[in-house]
């Protein structure tokens, strides 16, 4: 068990209930895909898990431990928009170096070795350390964002709509790369998306969220082949057949 999320609740000022008692477990090696439409609370869930938003109630434990430092090192997040998640003022070297904030004992040489390794892992050339984010395309930037997440060799990667803003072909490349990385690095993914095709490809467990609640949770094939909740059926029908019941 890597991550235990229990009874998370969050109501925003104005009365919008973004999370309404969300409980989830993520086991090592069992990628969890979270699907749901915009406004269902999936981004809030990711932010509460990462500690960016304080929940009204509930706990998030990493291997049974609430320590934030260890959490920041072990759990890393990749954001949706690669154009806003990299600070345009810093070079690739500085961006990657910042990821090592919690590893102060690492020497410059070790840091550089680590940078080269993660660039290899995301299939980016090694000689780009002095370049700036605006010199890269969307897909390349997302690779850099993933490289940054890999710097501390995390055990859990939270990908919040990490391929949704990319071209279909680039999406596919990134998804293939993520699959390969998982096999090599033994990470677990918490993949959040409204794109059911991508989620189906990458996840072993599926959670379906609507109105701040998890309405369906189970093995991928079970959820896709025999959806139990009517909302899940609507979602699958719309995503795979582009049809919706009137």
């Amino acid at each position: 068990m890597i991550l235990q999320v229990e009874g998370l609740c969050k109501t925003y000022p104005g009365g919008v209930k973004a999370l309404d008692g969300v409980t989830l477990d993520i086991r090592a090696g069992e990628n969890l895909g979270l699907v749901g439409e915009s406004g269902c609370g999936k981004t809030t869930l990711a932010r509460v898990v990462m500690g960016l938003v304080a929940p009204d109630a509930g706990t998030v434990l990493l291997r049974g431990n609430p320590d934030r430092r260890e959490f920041c090192r072990q759990v890393r997040m990749v954001f949706q928009d690669p154009f806003t998640s990299l600070d345009p003022r810093y070079s690739v070297r500085e961006i990657l170096k910042e990821a090592l904030t919690l590893e102060p004992r690492m020497t410059t040489g070790e840091g550089l070795t680590r940078m080269r390794r993660v660039l290899d892992q995301v299939r980016m050339p090694r000689d780009i350390l002095a370049r700036y984010p605006h010199e890269f395309s969307g897909g390349e930037r997302q690779r850099l964002a993933i490289a940054r997440a890999l710097m501390t060799e995390p055990s859990l990667l939270i990908l919040d709509e990490a391929v949704s803003s990319l071209d279909v072909l680039v999406q596919k490349e990134i998804v293939l790369m993520l699959e390969e990385l998982q096999q090599r690095l033994h990470m677990t993914y918490f993949f959040i998306s409204h794109n059911l095709r991508v989620v189906r490809r990458l996840s072993r467990k599926i959670a379906v969220m609507t109105g701040g609640r998890i309405v369906e949770y189970g093995d991928r094939d079970a959820v896709f082949d025999r959806p139990a909740h009517p909302y899940t059926r609507t979602l699958i029908q719309a995503a795979f057949n582009y049809e919706v019941a009137p």
């Binding site: 915009s38 071209d167 279909v168 072909l169 999406q171 794109n195 189906r200 582009y242 049809e243």
Partner: protein, 250 residues
Amino acid sequence: MNDTRLLVKGLTVTLREQPFTPILKDVSFSVGRGTITGIVGGSGSGKTTLALALLGLVPPAMRVKSGEILFEGRDVLGMDAEELRRLRGARISMSFQEPSGAFDPVVTIGAHILAAMAAHNPSAGTLARQKMLDLLALVEVPDPRRVAACYPHELSGGLRQRAMLALALCARPALLVADEPTSSLDVTLQARVMALFRKLRRELGVSIVLIAHDLGMVRRLADETVILSQGRVVGADHAYAKALMAAEEM
């Protein structure tokens, strides 16, 4: 050929500064009456330039090198500003990917549509309001009266998208150019908007040019699909088209 509404012949568009790197290269296709034509391509494939060119809006940094765009037999690219103004909105209209840019934030949805209707048909008079509500009902806006009184920011993305369609349809155009109408929407809303396009085609006989990057969606909806890669039309057996189809499978 009488059924052809729009005919694009050998359209080549280049940057003014670099006349030898075409944005669009020898693009030809036709759109029949009441058909849906899908134009698919990745970012940078020239599909947005093509959409703008169909309305006679070639960006100032670009130049049409050769080719013509015939709408109902008349060359769009040869028209002067006044003719184009009459054409746009009245016979051809466009909807955009991000609906918020199409609306003035301090004007209600209803007032937007009424103003657009008055511009095209000043004599509508007292019937205008009823027509406006009918139009909102046509694009399947629930409770048109309430939505008409709303300001753009008060609507959800899906409702805004539909309100923009109503705006685009208020002069009953013959051709609707929809640029990425669903890519900012959730899957269920995507499916709803697609169903709406089918209905509009059926009930109004409007021809639709649908510009998107999602080949799977376009193939289900469109009668004909044009795949653009680096400014050129490519066939279904082209490597890029195959890659797109393979990506659909995920």
